[in-house]
């Protein structure tokens, strides 16, 4: 068994001798190689995804006016931002919407900030002795304010169910427009290229892991919300439902709208596509085996979004999903992705290039994620 440390891999990067492959490339090459051979030949595998991720947003600090204001009610291009923080700090959530235009929201403001556009800021306050001003109205850009960083409580879902609809009416969901009588089915991961499907036990990914986020360097800051590590797994160690997640952080000022894209889903609301890539150091045979995973080995559950509780109605894998149709109860059902594989491929290749050019080295997690987690649910007092 060959073993490498992250430090050894970083030294190889610096001397220009590291071997980097994308997760798709290693899956292809790995078809007729053993894990030990891959571990010996490959140092790093780049993974990526570019999908709609609602649990995203940005923190910002506007700087102080004279006289100063303790902002209590804040909007950016008429989209409310959360101001229950210090005087001129706010958090703008991607899915928050302009009350007068449900198709425009935080995601669009975030994209416009990235693109250097001016955004209209309005803030109100009751005024205090130390912050006497009661209102401010001005235009800001990413260069006119202080900090502007993305903080996403939940991204990079490790697997996700396929959505279909058995009812007789079209339903509009965050998984797209689901037509009646199981006429289509949608899915949303990049399969064998997806970060947490290439290191399902999260041996190399943890708090502090350096990543590609929105076109710049970002970090894993915590386990994501709804972090679930005890979902049923298949023989390859892949959870067959939505399982682990990551909380991510990065400097929005350095991001590019090539890798961050605002979106609106009909009758659902605003969301945001986040481009992220994670390098996986091939530290041993086990990790090599994990990154060799192929689409046909990554199974997921098919859920009926037309029925309360989204019950499972079958199982499939990403090879079938990416072929354009799957079979459910003997019926051929058209499939379509929600996340962009061409963009994910671009990210995996960009990250590979950064490493090849010695612009990006790998980091060892400062702390591993918790094990054996599951989720609580919420019941209303009126529910039985």
């Amino acid at each position: 068994m060959s073993a490498k440390t992250i430090q050894e891999i970083n030294e190889k990067i610096k001397s220009g001798k590291s071997v980097v492959l994308t997760a798709e490339e290693v899956s292809e090459i790995g078809k007729d190689k053993t894990a030990a051979e891959i571990a010996k030949q490959v140092d790093i595998v780049t993974t990526a995804t570019f999908g709609p991720m609602c649990s995203s947003g940005v923190f910002m600090n506007f700087g102080h006016s004279d006289p100063p204001i303790r902002m209590q009610e804040v909007s950016l291009n008429n989209v409310p931002a959360y101001a229950g923080l210090a005087a001129v700090d706010v958090y703008l959530g991607a899915t928050e919407t302009d009350p007068e235009n449900p198709r425009y929201g935080g995601a669009h403001v975030i994209q416009e900030l990235i693109e250097g556009k001016a955004v209209h800021l309005k803030a109100k306050s009751t005024g205090t002795d130390c912050y006497p001003r009661k209102s401010v109205e001005t235009s800001i850009t990413k260069d006119s304010i202080n900090e502007l960083y993305m903080y996403n409580p939940r991204n990079a879902y490790q697997n996700y169910p396929v959505a279909t609809n058995t009812t007789e009416r079209t339903i509009y969901t965050y998984m797209g427009n689901l037509l009646p009588n199981m006429s289509n089915a949608t899915y949303s991961t990049s399969g064998e290229l997806s970060p947490l499907l290439n290191d399902p036990a999260m041996e190399t990914i943890g708090i502090g892991t350096k990543i590609f986020l929105g076109g710049t360097v970002g970090f894993v800051s915590w386990q994501g919300t709804q972090f679930h590590t005890t979902k049923p797994k298949n023989e390859f160690g892949i959870p067959v439902e939505n399982a682990a997640t990551l909380a991510l952080i990065g400097n929005l000022k350095e991001m590019s709208s090539e890798f961050i894209q605002a979106a609106y889903y009909e009758q659902y609301g605003v969301s945001i596509f986040i481009g992220l890539g994670i390098p996986i150091p091939i530290v041993n045979d086990e990790i090599a085996r994990a990154v060799m995973i192929r689409n046909e080995q990554i199974e997921t559950t098919i859920c009926d979004y037309g029925t309360n509780g989204h019950p499972s109605i079958g199982k499939t894998n990403y090879k079938e999903l990416q072929s354009g149709s799957i079979e459910i109860d003997g019926k051929k059902v058209r499939t379509a992705p929600m996340s962009s594989l061409p963009k994910a491929r671009k990210i995996a290749n960009t990250l590979k290039q950064w490493i090849d050019n010695n612009q990006f080295t790998l980091s060892k997690p400062v702390q591993s994620f918790p094990k054996n987690t599951s989720l609580n649910s919420l019941s209303d007092e009126g529910d039985k």
């Binding site: 570019f50 999908g51 709609p52 198709r103 509009y172 797209g176 427009n177 689901l178 037509l179 006429s183 289509n184 089915a185 949608t186 894209q261 979106a263 609106y264 889903y265 009909e266 969301s271 596509f273 990416q322 354009g324 058209r334 499939t335 379509a336 992705p337 929600m338 996340s339 962009s340 594989l341 061409p342 963009k343």
Partner: protein, 136 residues
């Protein structure tokens, strides 16, 4: 040559048997895909017409003489493909297969000639990149 057109009828041409004439007089193979008469009694017809060039030219002349406007259907489809991120959401609803993904690259292939003006893509695209004008 087979091609889709949108025929727009004014109030005074709505009650003429135009389609019948196109078939009988000019030997045009017509496939009616969509038809609509709006409240102001202007009518719209999406048809696929198949005939030789000469017959088509005579047919267009006849349409002009009868106050029926004709536009190649593709001209009523606006898709800002440059902004497309290839997410694939539109392919979930396009049963005419005007929107498909390339099997290898997974990039969107747009074939406007196949569009049947169901307009489902206008709701499915999360970037709102489609505009399809049938009767407006």
């Amino acid at each position: 040559m087979k091609k889709k057109y949108i025929l727009s009828f004014t109030q005074d041409s709505v009650d003429k048997p135009i389609t019948y004439d196109l078939i009988k007089k000019f030997d045009i193979k017509i496939n009616i895909i969509k038809a609509n008469i709006s409240a102001d009694e202007a009518g719209h017809l999406l048809v696929e017409m198949d005939a030789d060039r000469e017959s088509m030219e005579r047919c267009f002349k006849y349409l002009e003489n009868n106050n029926v406007e004709y536009v190649p259907a593709e001209k009523r489809i606006i898709f800002d493909q440059e902004q497309c991120i290839n997410c694939g959401s539109c392919t979930a609803v396009c049963f005419a297969e005007a929107l498909t993904l390339d099997q290898e690259s997974k990039e969107l292939i747009f074939s406007p000639g196949k569009c049947v003006f169901c307009k489902l893509c206008t709701k499915a695209c999360p970037l709102g990149l489609f505009e399809i004008h049938f009767n407006e």
